[in-house]
């Protein structure tokens, strides 16, 4: 009896995590570059209830009678499929089509990765620098900050979507290349990336080291589009269906607990 109580509890805990994951997806339905997450479950270990078992006609069966002890969270996996690219009026909005990530220098000096290309220009100590909305510098393909030459307006910056090279037009309308490409990194196993706040990802041993798209020739290069932002890839209808399933599954597991409790109370009433 205690078994089924704990089994029901494990189901409730798992479904709670499921709802947590779904609600985070729903909360981030409008977050630029957000990737939907999915909770997946596995059964817990099995316990042998009775060694010798017989089938309906009385023949001995080769396996023991076993009872499972519930469920557990196996993983929350991010779905790295492409989000829709939506047009944006900002000159410093970039959307990635492909598997790459923008590289960003965090405040702790480490490099982080993001799909959120909603950047802006800020006046840093070295000049007008491309940075994220949180003020972290966006890096180029060599790991350097992208700084505009003095006297250039950030409104005139253009990005060649085929090569990723950043340039600007001067007052006379002539194009000047900055000889810098916006940094793009790929991972052997993006599911292994560590998720951090502010839409950033960190490399881990599971994800493998970042592979520079410009120097690794065997990678399929992604395309960066200026004046586009990648929308979140959360499917609202799918999340709502998942939410219904999770809530009902939670409810059923709570019924298991109340029923087990009723049975325990009946056992308790045996002795008057």
């Amino acid at each position: 009896m205690i078994r089924s109580l704990w089994t029901g509890a494990s189901g409730m805990i798992a479904q709670q995590t499921n709802v947590d994951t779904i609600s985070n997806n729903l909360a981030n339905v409008n977050t630029v570059g957000y990737k939907a997450e999915n909770a997946e479950f596995k059964s817990l270990l099995y316990q042998t209830m009775q060694e010798k078992t017989t089938s309906a006609n009385g023949a001995n069966k080769p396996i023991a009678a076993q009872v499972g002890l519930g469920t557990r969270l196996a993983s929350t996996t991010s779905d790295f499929t492409q989000g829709t690219l939506t047009a944006n009026s900002s000159n410093s909005a970039f959307g990635i089509q492909g598997d790459g990530f923008f590289t960003v220098k965090g405040s702790d000096g480490k490099t982080y990765y993001t799909r959120n290309g909603n950047f802006s220009w800020s006046n840093g100590t070295t000049g007008t620098t491309l940075c994220t909305q949180d003020g972290n510098n966006v890096l180029d393909s060599n790991g350097n900050a992208i700084v505009l030459p003095a006297g250039t307006s950030s409104d005139n910056v253009t990005l060649n979507s085929d090569t990723g090279v950043i340039g600007y037009t001067d007052k006379a309308g002539a194009y000047h290349s900055m000889n810098q490409s916006i940094g793009l990194a790929q991972f052997a196993n993006p599911s292994g990336l560590e998720k951090m706040a502010n839409s950033l990802y960190g490399a881990t041993t599971a994800s493998g080291t970042a592979l520079n798209e410009y120097t690794n020739t065997n990678l399929t290069k992604s395309v960066v589009k200026q004046k586009y932002l990648e929308a979140s890839n959360v499917e609202l209808s799918e999340e709502m269906v998942n939410l219904i399933v999770a809530q009902r599954a939670y409810e059923m597991n709570s019924k298991v607990i109340t029923t087990s409790d009723d049975m325990l109370s009946q056992a308790n009433q045996l002795k008057r």
């Binding site: 189901g11 479904q15 059964s43 099995y46 017989t54 009872v67 996996t77 599971a206 298991v256 045996l270």
Partner: protein, 266 residues
């Protein structure tokens, strides 16, 4: 009289075990590739009841007929019917249509490697390019699945930076050429499959691996085949059967109470 007490008690135990199994089904209602389990109850062997030391019968033992002393768990079984598909569009998610299992090389803490079987196709490609489960256990190719070979030679290695497609036979293609074949195996007698946990099944000694005719569907997962309605109805019958056994014990206890405390009162 006291016999009945124990008979009703075995009934309560059986219902309790059924409840344990049912709660595991409901806890795994959202587990990929989970197969519903159930248990049967069998009666104890019938016993011959004899009447002995009856003076009116001159102390000759007399047969009264057979009496049954309760029930126990007969077997636990797994319902192998197909679960429905959940389309995920994730390239590393695969589902099987038909009878068959993916083969997994499972290494325990003491380093023993064995082949386990699963219907859960939520895989991923790790940084070295190996196709693994979400727990990091290696998925085996056709050769490893059919020959029960869980060694490194049977792992599936892909180029981690390339997209891949899997066809219905389980062939994995990268850049237009076949690089590996996903192992799908069936067993000749499902009675030899024992639940291991972690969504996996163990093949007991005597069980035989055969070629499977299941088709592989990339981009979907097989959901659990637990039927919520039937589980809820079962839960009602279990709790009521438990209750009636409890009532039987209370009634016998009531009669005993009469025998002990009221007989002999003036």
């Amino acid at each position: 009289m006291v016999k009945g007490l124990y008979t009703a008690y075995t009934g309560m135990l059986v219902e309790q075990n059924r409840m344990d199994i049912l709660s595991n089904n409901l806890a795994n209602a959202a587990t990929n590739g989970f197969k519903k389990e159930g248990s049967t109850a069998t009666a104890f062997k019938d016993q011959l009841a004899l009447k002995i030391k009856d003076i009116s019968e001159n102390n000759v033992a007399k047969k009264l007929g057979s009496v049954n002393l309760g029930a126990k768990v007969g077997e636990t079984y797994t319902d192998w019917s197909q679960g429905n598909y959940k389309v995920t569009d994730n390239e590393s998610d695969v589902a099987l249509d038909g009878n068959g299992f993916f083969a997994i090389s499972y290494t325990d803490k003491s380093g023993n490697t064995s082949v386990k079987y699963t219907r859960d196709g939520a895989f991923t490609v790790n940084k070295d390019g190996y196709l693994v489960t979400k727990d990091g256990d290696y998925v085996l190719n056709e050769n490893g699945a059919l020959n029960n070979n869980g060694s490194a030679a049977s792992y599936i290695k892909l180029n981690p930076n390339e997209k891949y497609t899997i066809d219905e036979q389980g062939n994995i293609f990268q850049n237009g050429s076949a690089v590996a074949q996903l192992g799908v195996a069936d067993v000749s007698d499902y009675n030899y499959l024992q639940e291991f946990g972690e969504n996996m099944y163990d093949l007991k000694n005597g069980g035989q691996v055969i070629k499977s005719n299941a088709t592989v569907n990339q981009g979907s997962l097989e959901a659990s085949n637990v039927n919520v309605v039937s589980e809820m109805v079962d839960m009602i019958t279990i709790s009521r059967a438990y209750e009636s056994n409890q009532k039987a014990i209370q009634t016998i206890d009531g009669t005993l109470d009469k025998a002990v405390n009221s007989v002999g009162k003036v």
